[in-house]
């Protein structure tokens, strides 16, 4: 069979497959811990006004022998933001989320990219439109200098349609050597707790050495960095940066960085953190 014929003949594969493959990569999916909110949590419920909260970010390597996975975990406490502070079109998603639970369905994967019940995802042509959709005053715009990116916002809520978290995801369409994905997560007052964990996993089949670094910006903002080096593939590495700024938890992943570009990638992370200062 001719190769181009084969490519043409699979043009009609299930649209859901195409939607799923366009969705944000599942890596570093945020999760809320099962515990109740700690009394010490920094809770901000003042009409959506966002105040700077200096959060400590804890990084650690995790092992899950039961699923043969390893990973890194970034944990911090985030302020819980009043839902009324989100003034953009995102205000209307509650009804959709409640309906998903009531009907026992998630949104069709091919239209929304969301695959889990309770998630409502909308795609945007750029970060500015996504920020407008969220409409949270004081939320810092992701600072990575994307020239061109895929962008989406996912609101996650409960069966009553109360939105617990909002996540903005942007991925640079790689043309040069380093690809970048930036995410921002905000927890709302409906979140069961303010203890937030973001985790990135990989299978034990491809073990990686992990090194944790800290970079402090001129303004005193602490950026935690994880450098991941595959043990069996010494040519590439990836770097993850983590920042807690105001109400947002910002993550920048620089994936598949050639070893010789490590310094350049680290510098990109530093510039990213400086821009959030």
């Amino acid at each position: 069979m001719k190769e181009l014929d084969f490519m043409k003949k699979i043009n009609d594969i299930d649209p859901a497959l195409l939607g799923e493959a366009s969705a944000p990569a599942r890596r570093a999916r945020p999760k809320l811990l099962g515990r109740l909110a700690a009394a010490a949590a920094a809770v901000i419920l003042l009409g959506g006004t966002v105040y700077a909260v200096v959060s400590q970010i804890e990084l650690r390597k995790t092992d899950k022998p039961e699923t043969e996975e390893q990973g890194i975990e970034a944990r911090t406490q985030l302020p819980l933001v009043s839902w009324s502070g989100f003034t953009g079109e995102i205000q209307t998603v509650g009804e959709t989320i409640a309906r998903q639970y009531a009907e026992g369905n998630s949104q069709p994967v091919f239209s929304s990219m969301a695959v889990d019940p309770g998630d409502c995802t909308v795609q945007f042509a750029g970060i500015d439109q996504a920020m407008e959709y969220i409409g949270l005053s004081g939320l810092k715009t992701p600072s990575f200098p994307f020239e061109d990116c895929e962008c989406s916002v996912t609101a996650h809520g409960d069966a009553e349609g109360r939105v617990e978290s909002v996540r903005l995801w942007a991925q640079h369409i790689v043309r040069n050597d380093i690809g970048a994905t930036e995410t921002v997560t905000i927890l709302t007052e409906n979140a069961p707790e303010s203890d937030f964990v973001s985790e990135g996993m990989w299978t034990c089949e491809y073990p990686r050495d992990v090194e944790f670094l800290t970079y402090t910006t001129p303004g005193g903002l602490e950026c935690r960095i994880a450098v991941l080096r595959p043990q069996y593939d010494s040519e590439y590495m990836s770097l993850d940066g983590y920042l807690a700024v105001g109400s947002g938890f910002y993550e920048l992943n620089l994936g598949a960085v050639p070893v010789e570009k490590y310094d350049q990638a680290l510098e990109m992370l530093h510039h990213w953190a400086d821009a959030m200062d």
Binding site: K2, K9, L17, L18, S22, S111, I178, G179, G255
Partner: protein, 186 residues
């Protein structure tokens, strides 16, 4: 603007549908065409033609829930037709690499138009993709449907390029085995 509203504008033959759809998906469609054609000008022409085709196909189609896949299929089919029309030496390096990978599992020289009905093959590939791991199927679709460069796939999924290559090799072999089992003469 959400997809359902854009499709409603298409159905009402309101030309602003093209502007809204272009603003939302234009860049991604252009990237898809450019990945296959390897040329910005040709990609732009391909996407422009695709807008006209989409305009003519909505209605009768009403892709409220799958507007991007609907548009992407049109762009991809047009781009592949353009590639077929080009001589081998004028094809982009990416499409040459991509077809070389597929050549490893496709051996038959027979006229596939007669031998295999496209929809049936798409259905067989879809069924099989849903049966494999999420990682495998997404990487396969990014590579062989969206024609995405290995490097970009590696960045998207936080893998090395070497891992993407080995994952794709295993996936192609498994697909070939499955299709052969279902009676396809590859």
């Amino acid at each position: 603007m959400d997809d359902a509203r854009i499709v409603d504008l298409f159905l009402a033959k309101d030309e602003s549908a093209l502007a809204y759809a272009g603003e939302k998906y234009g860049k991604r469609l252009l990237a898809l065409a450019r990945g296959i054609l390897g040329d910005q000008g040709a990609a732009e022409e391909c996407v422009n033609d695709a807008w006209l085709e989409a305009w003519n196909r909505i209605p009768p189609h009403e892709p409220r829930d799958y507007l991007f896949p609907f548009l992407a299929k049109i762009v991809r089919a047009r781009a592949l037709n353009c590639v077929k029309a080009l001589s081998a030496e004028k094809r982009s390096a990416e499409i040459v690499a991509l077809t070389d990978e597929l050549a490893e599992i496709l051996h038959s020289d027979q006229d596939t138009e007669a031998a295999v009905e496209a929809r049936a093959l798409s259905e067989a590939v879809s069924r099989w993709l849903w049966s494999v791991s999420e990682e495998k199927r997404q990487v396969f679709v990014r590579r062989y449907w969206y024609a995405e460069p290995l490097r970009q796939i590696a960045a998207r999924y936080g893998m090395s390029e070497a891992k993407v290559k080995s994952l794709l090799l295993r996936t192609r072999q498994e697909l070939a085995k499955q299709l052969t089992k279902e009676g396809y003469d590859l």
